[in-house]
Amino acid sequence: MQPDSRFSTAAPAIALDKVELSLGSGAARVHILKGISLNIGQGEAVGLVGPSGSGKSSLLMVLAGLEQADGGSVVVAGQQLAGLDEDSLARFRGRHVGIVFQAFHLIPTMTALENVAVPLELAGRADAFERARAELAQVGLGHRLDHYPSQLSGGEQQRVAVARALAPEPAILVADEPTGNLDESTGQQIMELIFAAQARRGATLVIVTHDLALARRCDRTVRLRSGQIEESALIGGDAA
């Protein structure tokens, strides 16, 4: 499966080839991803859709380096992920991938500013707090820097999470149901932020969502069913 020609002028940002993933052990072992091949071009926005249990989140985890595939090849930002150990994967994520979760996953004991600074501090950036402050200002939270997650609304927490994902300027941004825990209007604001940031920075974006309207805002949608790609469709283009 090839990326859209609009994004294929350079090497793909994400190249998956015959990716396999099973979870659990013994009788409880479940075959989740069954030979997934997918290329995503640099700067492309892709929406992963499909019914519950189809393997969307698992595919997202594999391409974000959160889960190791059992088989096949996973090349992300020019890096072959197969064979990397947990710590190498952590460093890889810190450098190349920004992640936005449905449940925000902010660290409750840290302020908004500190939460955003964490990946920069982990990367050893001397300007971690300046950058974090700028990112929070970008998402409209310049006045809530010293608030703890429990003092923020759901929408504000997700903005902090978006700022945290964007702060290290990752080449790849992944989001797992980023609006799933938010009301419709707040969800829309968050998506505006994500798409604007992606466009501004030229990052590759992969979003898992049940929301077809949201998926349609991407350059391409990839539909999964039972661990396989059922359909890959360019928005306003051909179905693959």
């Binding site: 979870l23 660290i107 990367a123």
Partner: protein, 867 residues
């Protein structure tokens, strides 16, 4: 497309990096401090366990140091001078006196055991007293406080043909005496002029079996108790003109009176045996405190595990943002260490305060003024134990945090995480345990005891863990009961995350210690009282003059019909050389130090004494008249590496006597018959003045009234002979031992409190599971009584199983101590065992139900909404 196969892919253009691959200790510390903003919730038991154990160890150590510091700083007062020289059975010669008087002021004191008497005829009353006769210079240092107040010389002076005497109030009470009453000591008539409130040199003179009776040397002379060979000790206290010349002075005495056989003490070690005992006792109490910390360690592990379980999401978030596993480990190990430091600080403050508090509350009861102060060494030891226990129990669960999968963010429960940490963390845990063992051994007075303790603790911990696994395995395989309550109880015992291991470990350790101490107590008490052998004597009679021996035997035979009388000659002697080695150059094994530390009773005999069997060598022939021979007790000979054919030198009556070891004997000490470590061939002491020692036994038994009658008859007819009633003496020893055991058992309560804390913490941590179960079951129609029954059954089964293991392990440990170390008979105590079972049931059921009770009373809808 360019693909790299390592993680050195070019990063996006960015500001200069300062870290190394996402890990730096200062960054980990920063994150740990931020994490701590969440407060110490969930660490209550962790803090309490560490604080309690550390406070116990720091408190015991600080108090002991305050006591020994007091002994050291008040050495001159306690000793009654800068140096004290003691001789047995003879006073110093004029030449020896000359050595003392040339160096400074001298005070002469004689001590002996004797009978103090009052009344005449049928009204005669007598009791054993520790007599102390002093000269006019006494006390050289410190103050003898009397009631009513009077200078010693005045109180002890002779007026109207009666010598003044001052008494321990206990002696006055035993003989019904008050100020102005008369009493008799040997041939001397005394009048009570005061009661002793404080005797400054009591600790240096030593505590005896009887209460103190203090008289002047003139009164002692008049008593006629000092006869050739009498068992009196002569003490010469010297207050130096130049206190700085102590070592020169000691060297001079040694050089000019090499054969004197002095037992020498100096102000630097005024009461060395007391100091030794304080140190030994401190070690036992420290080990009890360490047990409390070990129990607390289970609480530490539980708290850390619960904390990390709660932080799974945060850990996974850190990892998703690029934190490697070792950064996660560093963050949480630092967090745990910081929290541990708070617990340790609380413990150290409480431990430091303990001696001050004890001094304020009970200082007036102590024989010396203690010097309470901050004791850095004791605090450092307690800190060392505390931090190592925290690390030993926390490193394993902390190591598991390294590999918490990031997928924990997407799946509520991910069981793909490892059950055992990486090798490095296992090695670190092992290192912490090794350091803990090394510290326990290095810091102990008796390393052998520390090693036994560590082995026993490891054995008990491993056994309890195996037992917990066993209980769960059995519960899993048991047929399912038909009753829902019983089925639920059984399932709760073996389900994943069951409370079984925690309850068995924490409560089991505390209970095992309690059972061990109870059974040691029971065995000791029985040894000292109930288990007196039939052939044990009722009386020991001391100071029987050789000229009176036959007459006294006849007298006893008449007064105590049916009694068995044994009479042996008795001298006192100090060992000077073992083989060619002077005893000063020998470091004895701790349990045999007493052999060399002071003078010992020696005797001679033509035949092998009763109660002894020949182990090696041959007994000397009748009428033997060759070079002096000696028979040694085998265990002691083995301890010092002495063999048949070696020689020993003993100073008796100021004369060194060298004898060849002719044989080794095994002695049945527990029979309490007369027996000696050293028995010489009769020709060794031919012509030497000495007294005899007699025993009177009643193989058919005897009542108290008869014993008292014999006491009175002896006091009347032989006022110079000292009668010691064995039952009274054993009762005195029993009371002392009971007090020591009470102190140890009191300290062991700290361990039980730690057990309770851990238990309560574990039950509280598992509480939300219980509430969930209870509410779901109620929703499905379970009634409260049925649920209550299920929980009672579960907690009772756990408590019972734990108690049974504790009784078994405690019995084995007590048996090892009683039979292996104390070498006395073992006695099992059913009340102690039942007590342990009762405590276990009470604690598990009560603590278990406290939380569940609340859930049982709630309406399901309300709880379901909040779940």
């Amino acid at each position: 497309m360019s693909v790299t196969t390592s993680d050195d892919a070019p990063a996006a253009a960015r500001a200069p990096e300062t870290g190394r691959g996402g890990f730096s200790l200062s960054l980990a510390l920063r994150f740990a401090l931020r994490e701590l903003r969440g407060g110490l919730r969930g660490f209550g038991v962790f803090l309490a366990c560490l604080a309690l154990g550390v406070a116990a160890i720091a408190g015991v150590g600080s108090f002991s140091r305050a006591l020994t510091d007091g002994l050291e700083r008040q050495g001159t007062t306690l000793l009654g001078g800068d140096a004290a020289f003691t001789l047995v059975q003879r006073p110093a010669t004029p030449e020896e006196m000359q050595l003392f008087t040339a160096a400074g002021r001298v005070s002469i004191i004689a001590t002996l055991r004797a009978m103090a008497r009052t009344g005449e005829g049928a009204g005669l009353n007598s009791t054993l007293a520790e007599v102390k006769a002093v000269d006019g210079a006494y006390p050289l240092t410190g103050t003898l406080t009397l009631d009513p107040p009077a200078p010693p010389a005045q109180a002890l002076a002779e007026t109207d043909g009666r010598f003044g005497a001052v008494l321990d109030p206990v002696l006055a009470e035993r003989l019904g005496l008050k100020i102005g009453d008369d009493l008799q000591l040997g041939a001397a008539r005394l009048r009570v002029t005061g009661l002793i409130s404080n005797e400054p040199d009591l600790l240096a003179t030593g505590l005896g079996f009887g209460p103190r009776l203090m008289v002047s040397l003139a009164a002692l002379n008049a008593s006629e108790l000092i006869q050739p060979g009498s068992l009196a000790r002569w003490h010469y206290r010297v207050q130096l003109n130049d206190p700085g010349s102590l070592s020169t002075f000691l060297d001079e005495v040694k050089a000019k009176a090499p054969q004197a056989g002095f037992e020498v003490r100096t102000r630097d070690a005024a009461a060395p045996r007391l100091e030794d005992n304080v140190r030994r006792f401190t070690q036992y109490l420290t080990l009890v405190g360490l047990t409390a910390l070990l129990v607390g360690g289970v609480g530490v592990a539980n708290a850390v595990k619960s904390h990390l379980d709660a932080k799974r999401g945060v850990i996974a978030t850190f990892k998703s943002l690029g934190a490697p596993g070792r950064m996660i480990f560093a963050i949480y190990v630092l967090e745990v260490v910081l929290i541990a430091l708070i617990g340790l600080l609380i413990g150290l403050i409480a431990g430091t305060a303990l001696p001050f508090a004890l001094d304020a509350a009970f200082g007036h009861l102590l024989p010396i003024a203690i010097e309470s102060s901050v004791q850095p060494a004791a605090l450092a030891l307690a800190f060392g134990y505390g931090i190592l226990i925290a690390l030993a129990f926390a490193l394993w669960p902390l190591g598991l945090a390294h590999d918490v999968p990031v997928s924990a963010l997407f799946r509520e429960w991910d069981d793909n995480g490892p059950r055992r940490p990486r090798k490095i963390y296992i090695a670190l845990t092992a290192l912490a345990i090794l350091a803990l063992c090394a510290l326990a051994v290095a810091a102990s007075e008796e390393r052998r005891i520390a090693i036994y303790y560590l082995l026993a603790s490891a054995g008990v911990l491993i056994t309890l863990r195996l037992v917990a696994t066993g209980i769960m395995a059995i519960a899993r395989r048991l047929p399912r009961p038909r009753s829902t309550g019983a089925r639920l109880a059984l399932a709760n015992i073996h389900r994943p995350a069951a409370l079984t291991p925690t309850v068995v470990l924490s409560l089991g350790l505390g209970l095992t210690l309690l059972v061990t101490l109870s059974l040691i107590d029971r065995s000791l008490t029985r040894e000292l009282t109930a288990r007196l052998p039939d052939q044990a004597p009722s009386f020991f009679f001391l100071d029987i003059q050789s000229t009176d021996t036959q007459q006294f035997s006849d007298f006893l035979a008449k007064e105590a019909s049916g009694g068995k009388i044994e009479v042996v000659p008795m001298l006192r002697g100090r060992l000077i050389n073992l083989g060619d080695r002077p005893v000063e150059q020998i470091t004895p094994p701790p349990e045999f130090a007493w052999v060399l530390s002071s003078d010992r009773g020696v005797t001679y005999s033509a035949e092998l004494p009763e109660g002894s069997t020949l182990a090696e060598g041959r007994w000397w022939p009748a009428g033997y008249s060759g070079k002096p021979l000696v028979s040694l007790e085998k265990e002691i000979a083995d301890a010092f590496g002495l063999r048949v054919g070696d020689s020993v030198t003993v100073n008796v009556l100021g004369r060194p006597i060298t004898a060849e070891i002719a044989n080794l004997r095994k002695v049945e000490w527990e029979r309490l018959a007369i027996n000696f470590v050293m028995v010489f061939s009769p020709n060794t002491f031919r012509g030497a003045p000495h007294t005899s020692l007699a025993t009177l036994a009643f193989p058919q038994g005897v009542d108290e009234a008869t014993e008292r009658g014999i006491s009175r008859a002896v006091a009347r007819s032989y006022p110079g002979i000292t009668a010691v009633r064995v039952k009274e003496a054993l009762a005195e020893i029993g009371a002392l031992v009971a007090n020591l055991l009470l102190a140890i058992r009191g300290a062991s309560l700290v361990t039980l409190v730690a057990s309770v804390l851990v238990l309560a913490g574990a039950l509280a941590a598992g509480q939300h599971h219980r509430v969930y179960d209870a509410v779901i079951l109620k929703t499905l129609g379970a009634t409260r009584p049925r649920l209550l029954l299920a929980y009672v059954l579960e907690y009772a089964a756990l408590g019972l199983a734990t108690a049974l293991v504790a009784v078994l392990a405690g019995t084995v440990a007590a048996y090892a101590v009683v039979v292996g170390v104390m070498k006395i008979g073992f006695a099992f105590s059913l009340p102690a065992a039942l007590g342990a079972v009762g405590v276990a049931l009470l604690l598990t059921v009560a603590f278990g139900l406290i939380g569940t009770w609340w859930a049982l009373g709630q309406k399901p809808a309300r709880i379901l909404r909040s779940l």
